[in-house]
Every structure is written in C-alpha cells, then in structure tokens.
C-alpha cells in the first residue's frame, strides 16, 4: 500500500533540530520547506483543490516560521505541528471544501486519470462509492472531518493528530470512531437497488 503523503526525510537532521537552528540561522527553515511543502500541498489539494493550495502552503510556512521560537523540541517530527497550522487555514475555506465534495456528487467518474492496471478493479469500487463518500464527508462536522482526514489522508497516528489539533488522544479516538461510523453508514446506502431514484 502506497502512502503518497508520507514522505519520511532521508536527511538525517531532525526537524526539531532544524527548527532550533533556524532561530539563529533562518535558512535552516528552508530544509523544512523542502521536506514537507509537497506533502502539504497534496493534502490541501485533496481538501480544497489546487487553486488555493499553493498560497495556503506558503502561508503555513510563514506562520510556522514566525512561531518557530515556540516549537517544543521534544517532538522530533514537525509534521503534526505543520498539519495543525494547515488545518486551521483550511477551516477558513469551508465553503470551498464543501463545494469540492459536492462537485463529486455531480461529476461522472470519467475524470479519474491514469489509473494503473492493477488499480482498475479497486478504482471501479472507489468510483461507485464516490458520491456516498463525498456526501458523508460534506456532512461531517468540521472537527470530526479534520480528525478523519488527518488520519486517513495525512497519515498521522492518533497521537500525532492529537498534537496537531491540540486535543487529548481520547478525543481523537472518539471523533474518529464517530466519523468512520457515519462514513460506513453512508457506504451502506450504496446498495445498487436504491441508487437510481
């Protein structure tokens, strides 16, 4: 299983150390940008589309840069921190996000691009369930959707999601359960007998 959003840095210098260095040598922060900007762009492009993704990623790093003095060096991996900032910025575009999911309800499945052969079968399933998924995503309360998507699309662990959103792990668990239950319920409704009405 490929996780395109997970880009583990090959560079041995830890994120936390880079952030520490950047306090005296701001250029060190550029490494962080090079490590994670593409990953964050992909994540945002999923939720909001490509039009706003570029600016939003730039903004994320500007904010992170301004707050680098407050970074807790105990956390080596900066991804949850960055995803936390991204999530806040994404929430300013709630209408864009809702429109994006709604568009999936209308559009036929022919915009699926370059599906590799071994994924075609899975693709068919994914496409037929797409409207139901989109509807479920659009209907989720924002805080549940944030948790679900950080987990499913951002590939963060429970602990990392908790850190990103600054909430207890228990809360992450309960929000994730609630969100997944709703998604599963929506998927259950894709019984072909009821689809065309």
């Amino acid at each position: 299983m490929v996780h395109p959003l997970t880009a583990l840095p090959a560079d041995p210098v830890r994120d936390a150390d880079l952030i520490g260095e950047s306090r005296t040598d701001p250029e060190a922060f550029a490494v962080l940008f090079d490590r994670y900007s593409s990953m964050l762009y992909r994540y945002v492009s999923r939720r909001l589309g490509p039009e706003v993704a570029e600016d939003l990623v730039g903004e994320t790093f500007l904010i992170a840069f301004a707050r680098r003095d407050r970074y807790d060096a105990a956390y080596h991996d900066a991804r949850p921190w960055l995803f936390g900032i991204v999530t806040k910025l994404v929430s300013r575009h709630r209408r864009t996000e809702a429109a994006r999911y709604r568009a999936l309800l209308r559009s036929p499945a022919d915009d699926v691009v370059d599906s590799p052969d071994d994924r075609v079968a899975a693709g068919v399933t994914a496409r037929s369930t797409r409207p139901a998924l989109a509807r479920a995503l659009a209907a989720l309360p924002a805080r549940d959707r944030d948790v679900l998507l950080l987990f499913a699309w951002g590939d963060l662990s429970y602990e990392e999601v908790a850190r990103a959103l600054d909430i207890p792990v228990g809360t992450v668990r309960s929000r994730l359960n609630r969100a997944r239950k709703k998604v599963r319920a929506a998927l259950g409704d894709t019984n072909p007998m009821h689809e065309e009405e």
Binding site: P4, P26, E27, F29, A30, F33, D34, S37, S38, Y41, R42, S45, R46, R47, G49, P50, E51, A53, E54, D55, V57, G58, E59, F61, L62, F65, R100, A103, L104, S107, D110, D111, V112, V113, A122, G123, T125, A126, T129, R130, L133, A134, L148, L149, A152, W153, R180, V183, R184, L187
Partner: protein, 358 residues
C-alpha cells in the same frame, strides 16, 4: 467494505501534484525583508517582480506575433500581409488586455496534474496601451491577487456569479476572458479593444517554432523545481528551457527576483530578435503561426486576420519603446497576502491611459 481504504482511494483521486511554482512560496520565507517588520510587503514585491517579468515575456510574444504575421507576407513590408487582406487596420489608440493563463491541461499537464473541472487560472494580467501614433506602448501589469470588485459574470455553463469582492484572477476562473475584460473595464474606466489569452504551453510552443532562442547563460543552472538544467555559456534554449529560465528562481544567480527580471528581459530580447528572422523561413513560419493559433485565444473573434491588421501599425515599433509598469498597490488590510490598488495613484495611471484613448 473498508471505509478507510475507499477514503484513501478517493483522496488519491482528488490529489494534485505540486506545481513548479510552489517553490516560489519558499521565497516568501526568505525575502530579504522577512526578518524585518515588512515581511509581507517583501513577499508581495517578490511576486510583483515575477509577474512583471513574465508579463514582459508575454508582451514581447504578443507584440511579436502580429509583427511576424505581417512581415510574413514575403515582401517584408507593411501593407502586404500573408493573410487578412481586406481587413481594416485599427487606427487610433488601442488597448489590449493580455491574460497569461495556466490551464494545466493538455501539454501543460507536466507542470501540474490536471483534473476535470479545474478552471484555468490567470497568472498574469497585462493591459497594453498603444499610443495613437504607434510609437510607444505601455504595459501595465495587474497583480493577480489584487482584491477588487468583480462585476456579475456568467460562466460558460450558464451559471451566474453575482458581483463580489474577490481576487482579480478569479474573474478568469469564473467567467473567462469576457469576465476578466469586463472587470478591468469597470475598474479602470479604460475600454479594452482586444482581449487575448495565451497559456504557458503556448509560449513554449512559440519558442520551439522559432527554433529556440539564443541566450548567454552566465552560470550553469540545475533547478529541478523549474525542470531546468542548462550548462553555462552561449547557447540555444528550446521552449521548455526558456520557460523554465523565465520562471526559475533557485540555482540561478543570487536567487533574487531582480536577477530573474534581468533574465526575462534577456529572454524577451532574444525572442524578438529571433522572430525578426522568421518571415524568411518557409519551414518555421507555418509552425509558428500554428502555435499562435493554437495557444492564443481571443474573446471576440480577433483572429489572425485582425492580428495582422493590428500589426500594420506596430511594424515600426521597437521593443525598447514599450514601458513596463505595475499597478501601484498596498497590502490588503484584511489579509496581508492580498493587495489592493493604491489610490489615488492607480486611478491616475488609468485615467492617463483612458484620456489618451479618446
């Protein structure tokens, strides 16, 4: 049924690859002024330079296009056009709106993955004013993130977008060239005679059709983000490389946008120089015309014939007769990542153009 797996599949479908221009966002961190209080203004300036430079290239291309078409008659003299006989040459002052768009479709795909339903973005907006005597031109760059009042526009699918305050480039996304034109006319009071859009891949094709452009590269360049790799020295860049050269920021000079503007001016001169030889080339001329026809879109039937006619008056103009300016701006109070036109300076600029257009 695994809900997470389906959700991840959906995520992959929705995902877009980061464009090369994402690297520009990195520059926002390290604009020289980032460490001082005017960090935002610095990043703004950075992008204006980029745009101005791109606009320069674009304007060069579009001013060159009709000129080449015209002298393509074979006589090399105005008045004997290759096509367009019988079309009246526009006289008097002229205002042409150029939209550099990034459709990321077709040939543009490698600069950013395309998905159905994406609106094209206008990355570059330039209002070109040609004086009545055709001895000078002014190219006013309009920053794409200008917050302006966009009038009611209708999209191609019939949907209506009500008038609203928004980023000026959303006019193109929502209502295409016609909406952009109306927005500009409403804002500036300048009547736009022609509006044309050209996309990035078109720019590339035109340069390829010219057989590349000759440029002296002072230092070897290796910038994977702009997909650019060229050795140092005097050489011919193809369209892809030239486009990369025009957009690249890293691995070149000191990485500043001033450097980039210089590069783009060099590129612009190279294009115009190369285009001057084109009419005599029976092989390249048709390819060039084809690239132009394929990539330049106009909103009201400004076809090749009209462009040729337009070119009649431009034939004597040199690239140095075009002045490049940017609309005066200040940061948008509600969001420092946007800007608003600075008044009264912006109004004065457009008033001068409007009154010269009468």
């Amino acid at each position: 049924m695994d809900d997470l797996k389906l959700l991840r599949d959906l995520g992959r479908e929705l995902e877009h690859e980061p464009p090369a221009s994402l690297a520009h966002q990195r520059g926002r961190l390290f604009a020289p002024s980032t460490r001082t209080r005017s960090a935002r203004a610095g990043s703004r300036r950075t992008r204006n330079w980029t745009m101005l430079a791109l606009a320069a290239g674009l304007t060069a291309a579009v001013v060159t296009v009709p000129t080449v078409l015209l002298s393509g008659s074979g006589t090399g003299r105005p008045g004997g056009p290759l096509v367009g006989a019988g079309v009246e040459a526009p006289t008097g002052p002229l205002n042409v709106l150029l939209v550099g768009s990034d459709t990321r479709a077709g040939n543009n795909r490698k600069y950013g993955r395309h998905m159905a339903g994406d609106g094209a973005r206008s990355d570059t907006l330039v209002l070109v004013h040609l004086a009545a005597d055709r001895r000078s031109a002014q190219a006013v760059s309009i920053p794409r993130d200008s917050m302006v009042r966009i009038p009611e526009c209708r999209a191609s699918d019939g949907r209506k977008f009500p008038a609203h305050i928004g980023m000026i480039n959303s006019a193109y996304m929502n209502g295409g060239l016609a909406c952009t034109r109306r927005t500009i006319e409403t804002l500036t009071g300048v009547t736009v005679d022609y509006a044309m859009a050209i996309d990035f891949s078109g720019f590339k094709d035109m340069i390829d059709a010219l057989g590349g452009v000759e440029i002296t590269v002072p230092k070897a360049v290796d910038d994977p983000k702009a997909k650019l790799r060229v050795p140092a020295g005097r050489q011919v860049l193809d369209g892809e490389q030239a486009l990369g050269y025009a957009r690249a920021r890293y691995g070149l000079g000191d990485g500043s946008d001033l450097m980039r503007i210089k590069r783009q001016q060099v590129l612009m001169r190279a294009i115009i120089k190369k285009a001057a030889d084109l009419p005599a080339d029976p092989v390249r001329l048709p390819a060039f015309l084809k690239a132009v026809q394929a990539s330049v879109k106009t909103d009201d039937g400004l076809g090749l014939e009209e462009m040729v006619a337009l070119a009649r008056g431009l034939a004597g103009m040199k690239p140095s007769d075009t002045r490049f300016v940017t609309v005066p701006w200040t940061p948008y109070p509600q969001d420092p990542n946007r800007l608003v036109w600075k008044q009264p300076e912006a109004d004065q600029l457009f008033k001068r153009i409007a009154s010269d257009s009468k």
